[in-house]
């Protein structure tokens, strides 16, 4: 029999009491209000099957660390599925607080992440109770709030430096009676009385470690696995796969085919990662993927195609530009037309087919689009027919140009 620990765990919904042996965890859910006193946590249970864990020494910055330099800590990866070693969850033991005011009690908190680097929960070893600045222990509500705070990736804690955290004389204390030290944060972003704990733990949970974990998982995942994740995984897994492809410079027809499929499915949440990946490919390959979508009905995708073309230094494939120009007649967005014409203008194209296609826009229902095409064509060399159309448009709309 091995000694086992009882551990308090907070997830977003509940407090959990974890009976942690040397390998197996079993959970007893405790709803707020029923949490036993911390002193009652000491417990032991039968050890289960040994859990495979690997340790990684990782170096990263933490904004509350007074040294200002990188710190080195051990990140543990748990392997639960021998067939998918990249899928193990992670944990790290961290100090509860990098104290800003030199009066803090420091406990060890275990933070947990999934294999995609997403913070999941924290746990404490009994009989530890986190403490607030006024030397009071955290209440159940405080633990719940802490879990909410740490789970909020968009927290105001993200952008603050440690020096900005506390306002020692907020709002004019020295001249007109606004009382007390306070913090420059929304109240939803911290547990009252435990601002430094929240700041410290949030940056462990959501800071550089997230990227390090993703890369560790990515390194453990073979290319075929990443392809499979892109093909059939959730959005988060597909985004992870795309980022790892980009990071590792992986490029294959299989990947580009999968990306094409994703674009066909119109999954806009992946567009940013797809765009970033395509930007890293040789232009020829990137274009090959995107040209399929010159005539797409998806406005977001069209904007992505235009943005991709805009950032190229060399002249894009004229055929693709011609396709886009032909298709533009059915676009209803002035913004897209504006971008297309700006793209054509930036390359000073002299192409009769493209100009003919643009001249079709003179009949667009949206007059602002038609006028935009008019002024573009006025600058471009036009055929006799185009010239005739332009003249007709100009005369008909003389007062609106």
């Amino acid at each position: 029999m091995m000694d086992c620990k009882r551990t308090l765990i907070a997830t977003t919904a509940t407090l959990l009491l974890i009976l942690q042996g040397c390998g197996v965890e079993t959970a007893e859910f405790i709803t707020p209000g029923e949490r036993p006193a911390a002193a009652a946590f000491s417990h032991s249970s039968e050890a289960g099957e040994s859990e495979k864990t690997s340790a990684h020494k990782v170096r990263f910055y933490h904004p509350a660390n007074k040294s200002g330099g990188e710190e080195t800590r051990t990140l543990y990866q748990k392997f639960e599925d021998a067939d998918a070693p990249y899928r193990g969850d992670y944990y790290m033991d961290v100090p509860s607080v990098y104290c800003g005011e030199g009066i803090c009690k420091i406990d060890i908190v275990r933070l947990h992440w999934d294999w995609l680097g997403r913070y999941t929960h924290f746990s404490l070893e009994a009989p530890t109770d986190l403490e607030k600045g006024n030397e009071e222990d955290f209440t159940e509500a405080d633990y719940q709030k802490l879990q909410t705070v740490l789970s909020n990736r968009d927290s105001g804690l993200a952008d603050l430096t440690k020096d900005e955290l506390i306002l020692p004389n907020a709002g004019g204390e020295r001249v007109d009676g606004l009382t007390g030290a306070t913090v420059s944060l929304r109240k939803s972003d911290y547990v009252e009385g435990a601002i430094w704990t929240c700041y410290t733990l949030w940056h462990f949970a959501n800071g550089e470690l997230e990227g390090l974990i993703r890369n560790l998982s990515g390194d453990a995942a073979p290319a075929e696995t990443l392809s499979a994740l892109l093909a059939t995984g959730s959005d988060a897994e597909a985004a992870f796969a795309l980022q790892q492809f980009a990071r590792r410079g992986l490029d294959s027809d299989q990947v580009t085919n999968l990306i094409t499929r994703k674009l066909e499915q119109g999954n806009t949440t992946l567009y940013r990662d797809i765009f970033n990946y395509l930007q890293q490919l040789p232009t020829e390959k990137g274009l090959r993927v995107l040209q399929t979508f010159a005539a797409t009905d998806d406005s977001h995708l069209r904007l992505m195609v235009l943005a991709y073309l805009q950032q190229l230094h060399e002249l894009p494939d004229k055929k693709l530009l011609a396709e886009l120009s032909h298709d533009a007649a059915r676009w209803n967005s002035f913004n897209e037309i504006h971008r297309l014409l700006a793209l054509l203008q930036s390359h000073a194209l002299d192409d009769a087919e493209i100009n003919r296609a643009i001249s079709a826009l003179l009949h667009h229902d949206n007059f602002v689009i038609a006028r935009k095409a008019y002024w573009y064509l006025k600058e471009a060399p036009a055929s006799a027919t185009d010239h005739e159309r332009l003249t007709e448009f100009g005369e008909k709309n003389r007062a609106r140009l």
Binding site: L165, L167, G171, E173, R174, V175, D176, F334, R400
Partner: protein
């Protein structure tokens, strides 16, 4: 706390006790002139002539503003910029009121709501504070005086009269016809006539001598259903403070208190009489009054000087502050900074529940949000009590109605600042200078509209309030829950607004009428990078001669000058890095882009381009540089013929 003053005073009642009689003054008799110099025996050695000095002048203006603090400056500048000839009369040698180098109170505003963030005032007050960021990075109070001086005298329509006190209103019926002023430095009497008068002087002597109704003291709970008011009304008014500052001499410096020092009663002092950052002044060195606080001012000033030195003596010589050994007083105030005296009565009296229940007013023209910060009655003379009680803090800003900014019985009198129509408890929040400044801009703008429409302020409140609010919104005042809907704004008629790249918000939000993000609601467009462009397209040509932009200056972060020069998430001691620095605008004319204007060192949130009328179908803004941010955030664009 024995009695309450509720004055309904005729002009003669006030003026008769101190100055010439109302009837004589009203008659304009030369005998009434203070500057009657007929008895002088002046031999002019330069010319050899014996003459009579003429030191009496009569002048006329469109608007007369009395008081050169934040409220008065904003009132004068707003009316002047709208084309009115304005005189700004200030009884001190410097502008700035409580924030001047004579008193050195921080120019606070909505510094911090319960959200933890500021909700900073924009409009003229912000422009003043930004001007200070450029001209006074050293954060010197005497230089700040000159920054304000520059801010005022650069307005061609303002005549500034310093060292000049408005001492008496001369009435014609129930209206103020003229005011009698005395300029101390030139021994000159001025009679200033104007159709509209704005009293921003704090104590409001002119308004009082005009017979404008006012009250002093604390209302009882019942009158306005105020939770924080005393059970029964009384005469207490919050006191004035006297500040000081000390510097480190690098070696121990002894201090001996002067003869008039009043020993600090540390034993009985309330524990909240804190000594944080005492080297920058202690705001609770304060004395109030439960009767005629104006009559008590010189007595209180003397007491305050005694208390100030008594507290400093305690710091230096009690042994409890060993770190003060090297400190020596560097500046001591002699002019107490006043919080409260007369409160003039308007068509509406703003009170506690208006603030705490966040009541909506159709005639809202300003906002506040400092906590209800009621200072201890008596100040240092109630040493055992906490120096202030913050009765409430706010989740969001509250509105100030225009009806509390003009007199209910003197039809051409407006006011702004701490002397407006409000209860003692409401004053405990709204007295903060940036809030007063917003009121100032509102009444200055209202005076312009009164002239334009030939109406009284009351008629503005009832018949032209939309026009007043629209002008204020255009001039970058934020009125909570009142989006702009100016029918003359041609940007709202544009068919398309597009932008080069977007990080957050949407280009279409630039014409939604709200020029700041409110709580979680976004009202901006932010570029992903710089340079960045925004383009407006109209379906039919429009003729434009003005284009206005409201850019980001981060209204969630304070920019007032502070003695401690704080620079953190909430207080900034430099030019906001978000603000646009370099931008240009172009119009498309006959298919060609034509540049209309470029600003290379923009200094304001409201950026205005005026240009010869141009007929166009598209206008483009190109922002090349901010004061530090790699992106640009805009809140509003407007276009006018």
């Amino acid at each position: 706390m024995k009695r309450r003053n509720f004055f309904k005073v005729g002009a003669a009642a006030v003026a008769g006790t101190t100055l010439v009689s109302q009837s004589a003054a009203a008659a304009g008799s030369p005998n009434a002139l203070i500057s009657d110099r007929k008895e002088d025996q002046w031999l002019h050695l330069g010319t050899g002539k014996s003459e009579t000095p003429v030191r009496h002048r009569e002048e006329s203006y469109d608007v007369a503003v009395i008081g050169g603090g934040a409220a008065g400056i904003c009132a004068a500048v707003s009316a002047a910029r709208l084309g009115r000839k304005v005189v700004l009369i200030q009884d001190r040698p410097v502008l700035g009121g409580n924030a001047s180098s004579e008193m050195r109170v921080h120019l606070n505003g909505v510094n911090r709501l319960k959200t933890g963030l500021a909700e900073r005032e924009t409009g003229i007050i912000e422009e003043m504070l930004l001007h200070n960021r450029f001209e006074n990075p050293q954060e010197s109070f005497p230089v700040w005086d000159h920054v304000l001086y520059d801010f005022v005298i650069r307005e061609p329509n303002i005549t500034l009269m310093l060292n000049t006190q408005g001492i008496e209103a001369i009435m014609q019926g129930d209206r103020i016809a003229k005011i009698r002023c005395w300029q101390l430095t030139t021994e000159t009497e001025y009679l200033i006539s104007a159709p509209y008068f704005i009293d921003c002087s704090g104590d409001g002597l002119i308004a009082a001598t005009a017979g404008a109704e006012y009250r002093t003291g604390r209302e009882g709970k019942k009158e306005f259903d105020e939770t924080f008011a005393p059970d029964e009304p009384d005469g207490w008014q919050m006191g004035a403070s006297l500040l000081m500052s000390a510097k480190d001499m690098g070696k121990p410096v002894p201090y001996r208190a002067p003869s008039w020092a009043i020993k600090f009663d540390a034993e009985n002092a309330h524990k909240r009489r804190k000594f944080d950052a005492y080297h920058e002044g202690i705001w609770w060195v304060e004395v109030g009054s439960d009767d005629d606080i104006i009559a008590d001012q010189e007595i209180n000033r003397h007491k305050l000087m005694g208390y100030l030195h008594g507290v400093w003596d305690y710091i230096k010589n009690s042994g409890k502050f060993p770190e003060s050994a090297n400190l020596a007083l560097d500046w001591v105030g002699s002019l107490p900074s006043r919080r409260e005296s007369r409160r003039f009565i308007g068509d509406y009296i703003h009170s506690e529940k208006d603030l705490t229940e966040n009541r909506h007013f159709k005639d809202a023209v300003a906002f506040g949000g400092w906590g209800i910060d009621e200072h201890n009655p008596g100040g240092m003379e109630n040493i055992h009590m906490a120096p202030t009680i913050f009765h409430a803090h706010f989740d969001e800003v509250y509105q100030v109605p225009f009806r509390s900014l003009y007199s209910r019985n003197v039809p051409n009198l407006l006011f702004a600042g701490r002397n407006v129509s409000q209860t003692h408890i409401a004053l405990a929040s709204s007295r903060i200078m940036a809030t007063c400044a917003l009121m100032g801009q509102a009444v200055g703008t209202a005076a312009h509209l009164c002239l334009e429409q030939n109406v009284t302020p009351r008629e503005i409140a009832h018949k032209h309030i939309d026009a007043l609010q629209e002008q204020l919104l255009r001039d970058d005042v934020y009125i909570p829950k009142r989006p702009a809907k100016d029918p003359l704004d041609l940007a709202k008629q544009s068919a398309e607004i597009i932008a080069s790249s977007t990080k957050s918000g949407k280009p279409a939000l630039l014409t939604d009428g709200i020029a700041r993000d409110v709580n979680e609601d976004i009202h901006h467009w932010q570029s992903a990078e710089l340079p960045a462009e925004v383009q407006l397209e109209w379906a039919d040509p429009v003729t434009l001669s003005t284009f206005e932009i409201k850019c980001d200056t981060n209204v969630k972060r304070n920019i007032m000058m502070r003695k401690d020069s704080l620079n953190d998430e909430l207080f900034n001691n430099s030019v906001p890095e978000e603000m646009v620095k370099f931008l240009s605008i172009s119009a498309r004319v006959s298919g060609k882009w034509q540049e209309l204007g470029t600003i290379s060192e923009n200094r304001t949130r409201l950026i205005r381009f005026d240009f010869p009328p141009v007929k166009t179908t598209a206008l483009r803004v190109r922002v090349t540089e901010t004061y530090g941010k790699p992106t640009v955030k805009l809140f509003e664009v407007r276009a006018y013929a």
